[in-house]
């Protein structure tokens, strides 16, 4: 459809026809790559994708979020509050910051490893993690274990594997692995596929 004609096309979808995934973390943790992989996998599975990234100054150690929305006729590139079917949080404090986005009953995967802000304060992630454990059904994943088993740069893809194992996405591991192959340099592919499978395995489903 020519975008010029889009005005005359009524929006027809219902919310059940689409999946919203929010990815949140600290600049440098690989939210952009994770979002691109999810988007690419969703397109391979036949969905249209719309989303948004944090790029620029905030990437230098600031809070970053990526929005990935899959389905027909999605209007906004940003997920409205309370409508994320899935949240992948690469850091416990950032998970807490994003909870207003979570849909009741949504899949919430959180890496427990805190990233201490460079501008030092009291934050060490423990209060955030404790709160999330008490008040949400978040699935916690050990960041130290991921780093030990898969390398320091694999938290993003391991969490993606965990969420996929929890049935968060409208596509399977084949689509994710194909998307990784498309988006990654060949020399990093094996490491990331291992991380994906590790994340799925530790979730135990």
């Amino acid at each position: 459809m020519n975008p010029r004609d889009s005005l005359t096309q009524p929006l027809t979808r219902t919310f059940a026809e689409k999946t919203n995934c929010l990815i949140t973390g600290v600049g440098g943790q690989g939210t952009v790559l994770a979002a691109r992989v999810i988007g690419t996998a969703a397109m391979a599975a036949g969905f249209d994708v719309r989303g948004s990234e944090t790029i620029g100054m905030a990437q230098r150690g600031g809070s970053v979020t990526s929005h990935v929305r899959m389905g027909k006729d999605i209007a906004s590139p940003l997920i409205p509050l309370g409508r994320a079917d899935v949240i992948l949080a690469f850091e416990p404090g950032e998970a807490l910051r994003a909870i207003d986005f979570l849909k009741p009953g949504g899949v919430f995967v959180v890496c427990d490893r805190p990233i201490i802000p460079a501008v030092k304060g009291d934050y060490d992630g423990s209060a955030a993690a404790a709160w999330l454990k008490e008040h949400t059904g978040a699935h916690f994943v050990s960041g130290e274990d991921i780093i030990k088993n898969c390398g320091a740069r694999s938290v993003n893809i391991a969490l993606l594997g965990a969420a996929a194992a929890l049935g968060a996405f409208p596509f399977g591991f084949n689509e994710i692995e194909a998307a990784l192959a498309e988006k990654l340099d060949a020399k990093f592919l094996a490491m990331n596929i291992a991380a994906l499978r590790y994340g799925a395995a530790i979730t135990g489903k």
Binding site: L7, E53, P80
Partner: protein
């Protein structure tokens, strides 16, 4: 048709290539940088792309190509347009032969910019047509229409995406490739291309007539939906705000307000100016209209003007009535409330379903981490700032900053950026600060790419006028903040061709600075000495700190803290502001091995030799 998952900037690049762009130029600036990078990456035959030294140069290169008959595009961010405004406004007076599209990315928020200026408003001031996309797919399709429009009116045209178009992505159907125009080459045309007062006088009415014509005929990407006959209320929107309005409608429908939403008329605006008859048809019979847009009330003002011209008694609501915020981005959540208020819908809450205002959170949440953007672990700028700070301890010194990663040197604990205004301003503002307060030592920090952009003229000004300043050039070998673009100090161009490197040292020497020193920012002792020495000299002194950006060189081995030797003095944690070091539970320093690049700055400041390379640390412990 083939659909690709593209970011808005990639979609604009695909659109430009398919529309037959021949020359593409620009200067990096968030959120515009990926457009030119994508053109260069796809690099089809016959397309030339360059990072120019600044936006003014970029626009002039593109203008030269366009008056010789080659379709050209130039990309920049909104504040870059200020730098390029001189050639752009004048180019409108002489016009172009082939289409020329000036892509200016605006940044509501602002998210990564100094200000919230609105390029649609700039377009009105410069008397140019502005295309305003609401999605990546629309931006992609708009490029060809913008080129066609530019050729039809014989003037440059602006394409103005905003951050949420540039950095959002979508499944985009790629448009067909258009046949390339033949490039006629430059023809002298009896003075047509030489702007004299007489020519400007002659061409001004033609520019005005073009604008009049566009405000009669330009209907592209604009249109009306909703109930035509009975509607008493209408919503007008442009850019990504139009998409937020659609999303807000979906939420209101879900909450049982489907009928109210169905009964309003919607005007979507895709260009400024837009055909007046669309606005008049939209306003016809309405009691009230709400205008939803970001940055300036441009559509709002246009509708108010139409109400006057056509004697319509309609209340236009928007920024002028404080229905919309005066700064920052629009959000779906805020618009649900604003639209509900406009339509008298109980704040958009379904009372029967017991919907309440506010968050549905079971308990007080703990305080969130505060994460201002900071210099990366291993950033050479940290070494430079730290050394100058130490050398100037106890002395009256002012640290002028500039635009780039090193603006982040203002964060505590470094706290080394006292001023920041615009690209290149630090060097020259320091000269004014010195004229007003000659007793203080004036330092001006500027990055390599920014120095080439507009810093060189400031240095010439200093040397010529005998200014008493220390200019610190932070040469990290790339344009780091925007993602590592090449610049004249490097050996490669955007197209990957070998480039003749412009030496910053030779340039500074050639201009005639009174004293020049090159220093490694990670050699803390030498760096401190250089800063103290420069502060004691007179005249225009230049220190060039040469250390590559941590994102362009392989990461070194991480360091570690020997806890037996660490005395909890806190210097490494409290003075450097490095993201990789923090105080552990026992107050001893801890280095995060996943972040540490082994730059050694913390090892340099440790008085107890407690910081060692990870390998040595394992042996020792």
């Amino acid at each position: 048709m083939l659909k690709k998952l593209l970011m808005g900037n990639e979609a604009i690049a695909e659109g430009a290539i398919r529309a037959g762009v021949v020359v593409a130029t620009g200067y990096p600036g968030t959120p515009s940088s990926e457009i030119l990078e994508t053109i260069a990456r796809l690099r089809p035959g016959g397309v030339y792309a360059e990072w120019s030294v600044n936006e003014k140069s970029a626009l002039e290169v593109a203008a030269g190509a366009a008056i010789a008959g080659a379709r050209s595009m130039v990309t920049m961010k909104q504040v870059g347009l200020n730098v390029a405004s001189d050639p752009l406004i004048n180019l409108n007076y002489i016009g172009v032969k082939a289409g020329m599209v000036v892509v200016v990315a605006d940044d509501p928020g602002p998210i990564s910019s100094q200000n919230e200026q609105d390029t649609r408003r700039f377009g009105q001031f410069a008397k140019l047509a502005v295309f305003d996309p609401s999605t990546p797919e629309e931006a992609c399709a708009m490029v060809a229409d913008a080129f066609a429009c530019s050729e039809e009116i014989g003037r440059p045209v602006i394409l103005r995406p905003t951050t949420r178009v540039c950095h959002s992505y979508a499944s985009v159907e790629l448009p067909p490739e258009l046949p390339r125009r033949t490039i006629e080459g430059f023809s002298k045309d009896d003075g047509r291309w030489v702007i004299f007062p007489r020519l400007a006088y002659k061409n001004k009415p033609a520019i005005e007539m073009t604008l009049r014509r566009l405000s009669k005929e330009l209907t592209l990407y604009s249109g009306i939906t909703g109930d035509f006959a009975r509607a008493k209320k209408g919503i007008a929107a442009g850019g990504v705000s139009y998409r937020y309005v659609l999303e807000a409608f979906e939420i209101l429908k879900e909450r049982g307000f489907g009928d109210a939403v169905k009964n309003i008329r919607v005007l979507k605006i895709g260009t400024i100016p837009f055909a007046e008859h669309l606005g008049v048809r939209f306003l016809d019979g309405l009691d009230e209209a709400l205008v939803v847009e970001e940055l300036d009330p441009v559509i709002e003002d246009a509708l108010i003007r139409l109400c006057g011209l056509y004697c319509k008694r309609i209340k236009i609501r928007g920024k002028g009535t404080d229905d919309l915020p005066l700064a920052g981005e629009n959000t779906v959540e805020a618009l649900v409330k604003t639209i509900s208020n406009f339509l008298d819908l109980n704040n958009g809450l379904n009372a029967e379903a017991g919907e309440k205002q506010g968050r549905d959170i079971p308990a007080e949440t703990p305080a969130l981490a505060i994460r201002p953007p900071v210099l990366c672990a291993g950033c050479p700028h940290r070494g430079a700032f730290f050394a100058v700070k130490e050398a100037m301890a106890g002395r009256r010194a002012v640290f002028s900053g500039d635009i780039g990663c090193y603006t982040l040197g203002n964060a505590k604990p470094l706290d080394m950026v006292d001023t920041c205004l615009c690209m290149g301003a630090g060097i020259t503002m320091a000269q004014g600060l010195d004229r007003a307060e000659p007793d203080a030592v004036q330092f001006a920090f500027i990055g390599d790419s920014t120095f080439f952009h507009t810093g060189v003229s400031g240095l010439i000004n200093a040397v010529y006028n005998g200014a008493d300043v220390v200019i610190v050039i932070l040469d990290n070998g790339t344009t780091a903040m925007t993602g590592g673009q090449p610049h004249p100090g490097m050996t490669r161009t955007l197209m990957g061709l070998r480039a003749k490197q412009v030496s910053i040292y030779d340039l500074v020497k050639g201009i005639g600075a009174d004293d020049i020193r090159r220093v490694d920012p990670f050699d803390t002792a030498a760096a401190k000495t250089a800063a103290a020495r420069a502060a004691d000299l007179k005249g225009t002194r230049v220190i060039i700190f040469e250390g590559p950006c941590v994102n362009i060189v392989p990461k070194g081995n991480a360091l570690t803290v020997l806890s037996a030797k660490c005395r909890n003095c806190g210097i490494c944690v409290k003075k450097l502001g490095c993201p990789a070091i923090s105080a552990g539970a026992d107050e001893k320093a801890v280095i995060d091995a996943t972040l540490c690049t082994g730059c050694g700055l913390c090892r340099n400041v440790c008085r107890f030799d407690a910081i060692v390379s990870r390998h040595d640390g394992e042996v020792a412990q």
